[in-house]
């Protein structure tokens, strides 16, 4: 059991290291969020930038970003997330402005 534990631990650490290495090869998130902002709007307002930043900060903590969301669905989704994901009221409003301006 002790031997297996050491093997398991080593395998786990190796796997996590490999994953981190792979992650390091992929695109840094902060930069890509800015790029996305510039692509979405030719002159992003402070509100939308703030909302996008908060979107990236909070929504990606649990799940991949949705590929497509109807603007009509966004208010209910965000209130749902405010309760479930412990968003502040300000975060909810900022993300709402970003997702359904």
């Amino acid at each position: 059991m002790r031997k297996k534990g050491i093997l398991l631990g080593t395998a786990g650490v190796l796997a996590l290291t490999l994953l981190m290495f792979t992650a390091a090869l992929a695109t840094p998130q902060k930069e890509s969020a800015d790029q996305k902002s510039n692509q979405k709007t030719s002159s992003p307002t402070t509100a939308s930038s703030d909302g996008e930043r908060k979107f990236a900060t909070h929504c990606g903590r649990c799940h991949n970003p949705p590929q497509e969301v109807s603007p009509k669905a966004v208010p209910a989704v965000l209130r749902h997330m405010r309760v479930r994901a412990m968003l502040t009221e300000d975060d909810e409003k900022a993300i709402l402005e970003f997702m359904a301006p």
């Binding site: 650490v13 799940h63 991949n64 949705p66 208010p75 749902h80």
Partner: protein
């Protein structure tokens, strides 16, 4: 009977139209998951719809069901295939946003112990389809509670948010509303600038046996790399353990990166049995497990999932295989809607 149903639908529809300024939403996930644990193979078609119904500016009704069939051979290893149906109401709650820092919830809600149960259980969210070994600590007996919950988040400054959840649950043996008599709380700190969350959970189990469970959770999504790291520790009288999971999460807008569509996952977990404890649904012996998975993100919210795990105990070692497909859906209902 038709008139009665029609009348109820009319009243509900009218109420929704009058009350709701935002469109209600139906979302959730559908999945097919095939699992092979040792020699036992089983298949599960799963449908898990979620309703979010805003009422005015302060109220929200939320509900999630879980409908699944367990298709397996008799005794799991031999014989004819048979299917067993399971239908579960995981939550049906009314949330009142009383204050920017306080939400009052009444009804049936997911027991807030750690973060896995509340945030990571949907089939379309979880990185690995198998729940962690220590999942039942703090969530027994059903993962859901019937009672009252207070929760909220306070932003101290742009760098620090603190959140809290406290609840009381009554014992219920009502079909689809089963829950245990418990009380507990969870507190956490989230640092938005570094995307780090740390928290502690406590629960007092208050029926038949009285005992304490406590736990800690960590979440980290560094800005410098598309990595999602989560970990939890939990302790109950019968045993204690932890899991740590790392997954690639590339949310960049660049379509060139292959990692935008591939998500490798690794999870390491260990559990130590302290003493036999009736009904805790934990392994009977010390257990260690490592899982490696790969998810493929396809268009239209479809995802292929696959993983291999090896479980080690003093008595037996076992391979666990898992493959599946998940689909996430989300659409507004036609009534209401200000946007």
């Amino acid at each position: 009977m038709r008139r009665l149903i029609g009348g109820v639908l009319l009243i509900v529809g009218s109420s929704v139209t009058l009350w709701s300024q935002d469109a209600p939403v139906i979302s959730g996930g559908a999945a097919w998951v095939t699992t092979k644990n040792g020699d036992a193979t089983f298949h599960q078609p799963i449908l898990s719809p979620v309703l979010a119904l805003p009422l005015g500016s302060k109220l929200l009704v939320e509900a999630r069901g879980d409908v699944r069939w367990l298709i397996a051979k008799e005794g799991f290893t031999s014989g004819d295939y048979q299917s067993t149906f399971f239908g579960t109401l995981e939550y049906l709650q009314l949330d009142y946003l009383a204050h920017p820092n306080l939400t009052i919830t009444a009804g049936r809600f997911l027991t807030p112990f750690g973060t896995y149960n509340e945030r990571l259980t949907p089939v379309w969210i979880r990185n690995l389809q198998e729940v962690p070994i220590i999942f039942t600590i703090g969530t027994r007996t059903t993962g859901s509670s019937d009672g009252v919950m207070l929760r909220g988040t306070k932003e101290l400054n742009s760098d620090v948010q603190i959140n809290y959840t406290t609840y009381f649950s009554a014992l219920s043996t009502v079909n689809k509303f089963e829950s245990a008599r418990t009380a507990g709380f969870r507190v956490g700190t989230f640092l938005p600038e570094s995307r780090v969350e740390l928290g502690l959970s406590y629960q007092r189990f208050l029926q038949s046996q009285h005992f304490d469970s406590y736990g800690a959770h960590l979440g980290w999504q560094p800005w410098s790399a598309p990595l999602d790291v989560k970990a939890e520790y939990a302790h109950a009288p019968g045993g204690h353990g932890y899991w740590i999971e790392a997954a690639l999460r590339d949310t960049s807008s660049s379509g060139e990166s292959v990692f935008r569509h591939l998500q490798p996952v690794a999870r390491l977990q260990q559990f130590w049995r302290i003493k036999p404890f009736a009904g805790d649904a934990l392994p009977g012996v010390d257990t260690q497990q490592v899982d490696l998975g790969l998810n493929v993100l396809l268009p239209k919210e479809v995802r292929l999932t696959g993983s291999y795990g090896r479980r080690f105990t003093d008595t037996v070692d076992q391979n666990n295989w898992n493959i599946g497909i998940t689909y996430r859906f989300l659409f507004p209902l036609s009534v209401g809607g200000s946007r």
